[in-house]
């Protein structure tokens, strides 16, 4: 496996280099997607399947889709808007030196960090029994450091609000000709795969309690099903955002906060869960998070306020 790992590391380095040096924007995006897949593979080799799933789903999958739709808008905007004058050699040198310095600093600092099994990681594994779920990653995300996860959800929501505010000229409106809706095979693809992808997303969320998976990975897969529906012409962006959609977007943050607050008198601390109820509470939180994450990512893709079913 040594050969395989070395080869993988070399491929990742080569892809990263090509991704930043290649002149053509489209090639850079495709290289970036392949880089994401290779990174997912390397996370699997490092025994971190949760990270591998997140990288493949969000890093390679959804980010790739977002970059490609942005590329389309930039290309259609014409050469005047697409590329500005190249930055001066000074700027480029400064950027290169800065990046190398930062990377070296990280490498030096991380190298000197002593792995202390009494610290957070070991502590989390030891107290896994109190977490209510068997999967250490989910226990850490939703129980031991639930503050961080709640704030991450807030950041995601803010990102969507920011994107909606800035969106006006940069919307990708999939037209019939570029999504290939006239192809007889596309409805087959959408009809067969959407239920399966939805099932897989739901399974990933549910599986998060005892095996790799969880709200972020499952949410990303649910968003993927949405992207497929949009590209297949079954779902479209809408300027109006319905009340239901608003509710679903904030569902994760609200459920997380409300459960944390409601149980405060009982447990004496924000986001502390009573022993017998930990599992059902975690599953409830996880599913609401996944719904909000999936919907947020989908709206980032459509670049619209709301969604509507396509006219039949």
């Amino acid at each position: 496996m040594m050969v395989f790992d070395s080869l993988l590391a070399l491929i990742i380095a080569a892809l990263a280099w090509r991704c930043v040096t290649v002149r053509d924007l489209f090639q850079a995006i495709v290289t970036f997607i392949v880089l994401g897949l290779m990174l997912a593979l390397s996370w699997t080799r490092l025994d971190a399947p949760d990270l591998a799933l997140a990288e493949a789903g969000i890093g390679a999958g959804l980010l790739g889709v977002l970059l490609l739709s942005t590329w389309r808008v930039v290309r259609d905007a014409g050469p005047d808007q697409g590329e500005g004058p190249p930055p001066s050699p000074w700027v480029r040198t400064a950027a290169a030196v800065g990046s190398i310095a930062l990377g070296t600093a990280f490498a030096v600092v991380l190298h000197t960090v002593e792995v202390d099994s009494d610290r957070a990681g070991g502590l989390a594994l030891e107290s896994l029994g109190e977490a209510g779920v068997e999967q250490p990653v989910t226990a850490v995300l939703l129980n031991f450091r639930s503050y961080d996860t709640l704030l991450e959800l807030g950041v995601l929501l803010m990102a969507l609000i920011g994107a909606v505010l800035l969106r006006s000229p940069l919307i990708h409106r999939p037209a019939a000709e570029d999504t290939g809706t006239e192809s007889p095979l596309l409805p087959v693809l959408v009809t067969v795969f959407t239920p399966l992808v939805l099932l897989m997303g739901t399974f990933l969320v549910w599986a998060g309690a005892h095996s790799p998976g969880g709200a972020f990975q499952g949410g990303a897969v649910l968003a993927g099903a949405g992207v497929m529906l949009v590209l297949g012409g079954r779902l479209g962006g809408d300027a109006q955002v319905s009340l239901l959609l608003r509710a679903l977007l904030i569902l994760g943050v609200s459920v997380f906060t409300v459960i944390g607050l409601l149980l405060m008198p009982l447990e004496g601390a924000f986001m502390a869960y009573p022993e017998g109820l930990v599992y059902p509470l975690m599953v409830t939180i996880e599913f609401s998070l996944a719904l909000s994450i999936g919907l947020t990512l989908l709206l980032l893709f459509t670049g619209t306020n709301g969604l509507r079913g396509a006219p039949a």
């Binding site: 000709e177 192809s183 095979l185 596309l186 087959v188 693809l189 067969v192 795969f193 399966l196």
Partner: protein, 98 residues
Amino acid sequence: MTHWMAALLITAGLVFFLAGTVGLLRFPDAFTRLHALTKADNTGLGLLAAGVAVLALTWQLVLLIALTWLLAAMASSIACHLVARHGLHHDNHEETRE
């Protein structure tokens, strides 16, 4: 015995992948490249999946591998069709404009 069978199937699958990749790199246009890629890769994946299935310990795992192969084959065939269709449409468009 099963190990040899698996090794044989997986090696055969890899040969198809290699052929598909060579085709992708050497063929002159998008359509022939798609042809090389999807045909060879679907067969290669099938052989690879069969090889892994021989090694699987439970029949559930075999079913799962079969399902994976089926879905991958479907998705890649339809993706190939869509890319080819786009290419055809695009080429005609270019010609009528000139």
